[in-house]
């Protein structure tokens, strides 16, 4: 539907209330996902290691696998972060 004042379609008129949130850039989505996963896996690993130390029946190998997964996801998150930082730096160096 058109804006009665400018005749332009409502969707591109600035100041019009938008019905959907702006779509986030792909890199940020990825980083958020990586952070969430790293958080979750770290929590799981902490729980399992506590279990081993408390002697409640948690297997050592199970806890070790959880720790390794948490560590890998942390490294993945750092890599993603580094890539994003590098990308931004690259873009900021562009002259227009």
């Amino acid at each position: 539907m058109t804006n009665p004042i400018s005749g332009l379609p409502a969707s591109i008129v600035p100041g019009e209330a938008k019905t959907t949130a702006p779509r986030e850039w792909g890199f940020v989505e990825t980083l958020r996902g990586a952070i969430d996963q790293a958080d979750q896996l770290q929590e799981t690993a902490d729980g399992k290691v506590s279990g081993v130390l408390a002697g409640n029946g948690m297997d050592v190998h199970s806890a070790m696998i959880a720790v390794e997964k948490a560590d890998l996801s942390f490294q993945l998150m750092m890599q993603v972060r580094n890539k994003i930082v590098a990308a931004y730096q690259e873009i900021s160096r562009m002259q227009f």
């Binding site: 199970s62 890599q79 890539k83």
Partner: protein, 123 residues
């Protein structure tokens, strides 16, 4: 994306393999401790069957392998059927399997680590 790489089916399967191997070692240990207990029957797991179970696995607290009485063992007069040789051999075999599982798991983790640091975002 990152989910399937670190939480992969391969790692899940390897974890389950280690779980079952460790559990079997526990049963062997119990059998050995009770080799002179009157009426005690040796127990074991059906290894292949346990690996195929689709429920649970590494992350499930409710997953416990099913132990059963070993068939075909000779009983002594007091009703005990634990065989020293059988348990000794099985212990060595299970320990080796566990070791192999750990090595394969480590290799898999190293592979993932390389993939992360190679900078490739594809998965």
């Amino acid at each position: 994306m990152s989910n399937s790489m670190i939480d992969s089916p391969e790692i899940s399967a390897l974890g389950k393999f280690l779980d079952v191997s460790a559990y079997r070692t526990g049963l062997i240990t119990s059998n050995m401790a009770n080799i002179d207990t009157p009426g005690y029957r040796a127990r074991d797991v059906n290894f292949a069957q346990e690996l195929e179970r689709s429920d649970g696995g590494l992350e499930e607290a409710s997953y416990t392998p099913v132990a059963h009485e070993v068939q075909g063992l000779a009983s002594r007069p007091d009703g005990n059927d634990v065989s020293l040789e059988r348990e000794g051999l099985l212990l060595a075999e299970t320990q080796l399997r566990f070791q192999v599982g750990v090595q394969v798991l480590r290799a898999e983790f190293h592979r993932i680590l390389s993939a992360i640091h190679e900078g490739s975002a594809s998965s």
